[in-house]
């Protein structure tokens, strides 16, 4: 069964009416948003629209069901963007779903991920109470930071209703360099080296087996000069380099996880360059390490998922499996929070 909520009041009503609810934004992460037996699907796609946007403040507030695409259009008109580059924009991802799933795209490399840009929320807890956490200014340290608790919460503590974000100016020019290395080892060594340099890359991805992709942004002249510098550095390290002409379109494809299309199961895996060798030994399908190797998005099948679990590697399934989160959150802390915010267990997890 599915109920739709287009207003705060309707969200509160739904929470008070149904004993088990699973919130859904755009439904782009079906493993997370598809209702299980006994659950009512609460569709928030209608709870949409930007409430406040002050370009000079670098801040906006919007309803949780607002599509990322709509937000980005509004920001673009003022030369601004969401620096954490939320994935699955083209497929209809919403702000609420992105926050609840805790997902960031390749451009997170420059200024940080979703958790670094969420300033405040309003949400409806498991008792139908409307609660605010955080604020609407770029800096704030008052009260318990419920907004950060809801990042990656998969709807466990409440239904996100309203969100405030920090945004930044988008670079005036961008360029992308692809570097191919002779082996995985040499690609990893170079990745580790680049991570220590003050290059301020917008994105730095490792595409197995041995390709690095780096995106630069800034003033046009500076980007041109830095591109040459980077090219020389990479060549010195034995890389074949190539400048990608379709810079913007290419990265839109990456952030929409198009490289996963065709895979039955999609996962996000927290990584680290030091963990790549271990991950690469598993039977994974198409994949890509974002943010200098800090996170892996991979497509796989049942065997691959089983292997991830057996290796004890934490991961989140976006699509294709019933059980999305491994491992479950730590009892001693999580269960108490769940008890405080969702005592009747209306929402997913725990």
């Amino acid at each position: 069964m599915e109920v739709r909520a287009s207003t705060l009041r309707e969200v509160v009503e739904a929470v008070r009416t149904y004993p088990r609810l699973r919130p859904k934004g755009g439904g782009t992460k079906p493993a997370l948003s598809a209702p299980r037996a006994g659950e009512v699907s609460l569709s928030l796609g209608g709870l949409s629209g930007i409430l406040e946007y002050a370009p000079e403040e670098f801040v906006f507030t919007a309803w949780a069901g607002t599509p990322i695409a709509e937000v980005e259009e509004a920001l673009k008109a003022h030369g601004q963007y969401l620096p954490f580059h939320p994935p699955l924009r083209a497929q209809g991802a919403t702000l609420g779903g992105t926050v609840a799933a805790g997902l960031s795209g390749p451009l997170r490399h420059r200024y940080g991920g979703l958790r670094d840009f969420l300033l405040g929320v309003r949400f409806v807890d498991g008792e139908g109470r409307v609660v605010r956490g955080g604020g609407k200014v770029v800096k704030n340290a008052a009260g318990f930071p419920f907004h950060r608790l809801l990042v990656g919460s998969l709807g466990a503590f409440g239904i996100l209703v309203e969100l405030s974000f920090k945004v930044f100016p988008f670079p005036r020019a961008t360029r992308t360099l692809r570097a191919t290395l002779p082996s995985r080892e040499s690609a990893l060594a170079l990745l580790e080296r680049l991570r220590l340099l003050p290059l301020e890359l917008l994105a730095l991805d490792l595409v197995p087996p041995a390709t690095l992709e780096a995106r630069l942004g800034g003033f046009p002249q500076s980007v041109a000069a830095r591109l040459e510098g980077l090219k020389a550095l990479l060549a010195q390290e034995g890389a074949q380099t190539e400048v990608l002409e379709e810079d913007e379109a290419y990265w839109e494809g990456v952030r929409d996880l198009r490289f996963l299309e065709g895979s039955p199961i999609w996962v996000k895996v927290p990584a680290k360059p030091q963990k790549v060798a271990q991950l690469e030994a598993l039977p994974l399908g198409p994949r890509r390490y974002l943010d200098g190797g800090e996170v892996l998005y991979a497509g796989l099948d049942g065997e691959g998922l089983e292997a991830l679990r057996r290796a004890g590697l934490p991961h989140l399934v976006l699509k294709g499996a019933e059980d999305p989160l491994y491992p479950p959150p730590p009892e001693a802390f999580f269960a108490k929070l769940k008890e405080a915010l969702d005592p009747k267990g209306r929402f997913p997890l725990g």
Binding site: V138, G143, P145, F146, R148, P169, P198, G218, Q274, K336
Partner: protein, 459 residues
């Protein structure tokens, strides 16, 4: 055996109970509040913290974790009949892994020490509260401390990847991990900023960043605070994203000059803007910044030509708080935030309040993120003056909330601002905080009496 005897048996030689030994722990940097603790405990490892917290839980004795006690909001003020867990001896950097770009530290490690140890690898720890040569990471985590670079780099929460926490009931939990990306609820992110009410952090995993290649540091003098504030908006409107934008008013400038002779020009307001990044990028941004500053009506502009000149510009700003101590026997530091575009309005109103209350107010602040630091000067020996200073500070807090901002940008609520929480949060918000506190700390032992106002239910 009573509580104290058990405590002494648990940590022989590490429990202080003599009056003279307790005195330094009676207050933090907000000296207007004092309380004598029952005892001060000096653990040297996390097992000892666990044992002490469990003992407190069994006996129902409240405890306050304490780093260096530089809290300006009474966050580390002891609780009547409770103990202070002084964590300064837990000051080891357990692991510094440049390839992984992380540092794993004990809570008593001093902020600046991390950057010092990371420097040989070209890395640093970004959050830089002005207290960074003394304040500890445990305190920084509890308060989600900030500094001059928050607009671009975020606050402490953005730089903590994982935590090991002892819950108020004495359980040990690991929150987060070592990667910049995690899965599941951001529990470590939530712990940061809860002011020690939800447990004691005993191990902290921090992210390190490569040091910027180049800086461009500019000092501009203005005839009014408002002009300086407007310059900040102009910079943002041009699409620049400086690492720091700081403003000082005349009183703060005078104080800083007397204290450290930074060589600042005489002015009603000084603006410091620092660009940082790859040298080619900084060079282009600097051209735009130069234009903006010219348009903004600055009558004197100085650009640092060397690292020494850059340090000289920052010296006065960093010393400003302590320097103001020379102008007045006592002062209260406020820390409210307003939307950047309301800065001018807020400063004008603060000036008006200062006159109305007959107390001087010096302003030094993180203009880039609208974080005000009005310092309310008073003399605690004059009867009624502290109360007047507190009333004035309260008006400033209300003003910030009214303008759409926050009670605190970095110094926390502590005891000082808890009465103002209902100005910013609805009763339901505060009750939810209470419910969370009660679920994790049913006996209410961890930093009792802080953050949550007593009167919510009437609200």
């Amino acid at each position: 055996m009573g509580f104290l005897e058990e405590l002494k048996a648990l940590l022989p030689g590490k429990v202080l109970t003599q009056e003279a030994a307790l005195a330094p722990y009676e207050s933090d940097a907000l000296t207007a509040y004092r309380k004598r603790p029952l005892a001060v405990v000096l653990p040297e490892g996390k097992e000892e913290v666990v044992a002490v917290v469990r003992l407190c839980h069994r006996h129902g004795v409240p405890f306050v974790a304490r780093g260096s006690g530089t809290s300006l909001s009474g966050g580390s003020l002891p609780v009547e009949g409770g103990i202070v867990l002084a964590l300064n001896r837990m000051n080891r950097i357990l692991r510094l892994d440049p390839k992984a770009r992380i540092a794993v530290v004990e809570p008593g490690v001093v902020n600046l020490e991390v950057s010092r140890q990371a420097a040989p690898f070209g890395l640093y720890y970004a959050p830089d509260p002005s207290s960074q040569p003394v304040s500890t990471l445990g305190g920084n985590v509890a308060f989600n401390s900030g500094g001059a670079h928050c607009l671009k780099y975020g606050m402490t929460a953005n730089h903590v990847l994982g935590l090991e926490v002892v819950t108020p009931e004495g359980e040990v939990v690991r929150l987060g991990g070592e990667s910049l990306e995690g899965v599941g609820p951001d529990l470590h992110g939530f712990f940061v900023g809860t002011e020690g009410l939800l447990g004691v952090a005993v191990e902290i995993t921090l992210r390190l960043l490569p040091k910027p290649e180049a800086y461009h540091t500019l000092l501009a003098a203005y005839e009014s605070l408002e002009q300086a504030g407007n310059a900040v908006s102009l910079v943002i409107r041009r699409g620049l994203l400086p690492g720091a934008m700081e403003i000082m008013d005349r009183l703060a400038i005078e104080a800083a000059e007397k204290a450290v002779q930074a060589g600042y020009p005489q002015a009603e307001a000084l603006l410091i803007v620092e660009l940082e990044g790859p040298k080619e990028e900084v060079a282009e941004e600097a051209l735009v910044l130069g234009e903006v500053i010219r348009e903004s009506g600055a009558y004197a502009v100085r650009v640092a030509q060397s690292e020494a000149e850059r340090q000289a510009i920052w010296k006065g700003r960093k010393a400003a708080f302590s320097a103001v101590g020379r102008l007045s026997p006592d002062y209260l530091v406020q820390d409210g935030v307003v939307p950047r575009s309301r800065l001018g309005e807020a400063l004008k109103e603060i000036q008006r309040l200062s006159q109305a209350f007959g107390l001087r107010v010096a302003n030094v602040f993180h203009a880039g993120d609208g974080n005000l630091h009005p310092l309310v000067l008073y003399d605690g020996k004059k009867p009624g003056e502290l109360e007047r200073a507190e009333a004035l500070a309260g008006e400033i807090l209300r003003l910030c909330v009214r303008l759409g901002g926050s009670l605190t940008g970095e110094h926390g609520i502590g005891v000082e601002k808890k009465a103002y929480m209902p100005e910013m949060f609805a009763p339901e918000d505060l009750l939810t905080m209470e419910r969370v506190k009660r679920a994790l700390d049913p006996k209410g032992l961890a930093n009792r009496g802080k953050v949550l106002p007593e009167v919510v239910h009437g609200g």
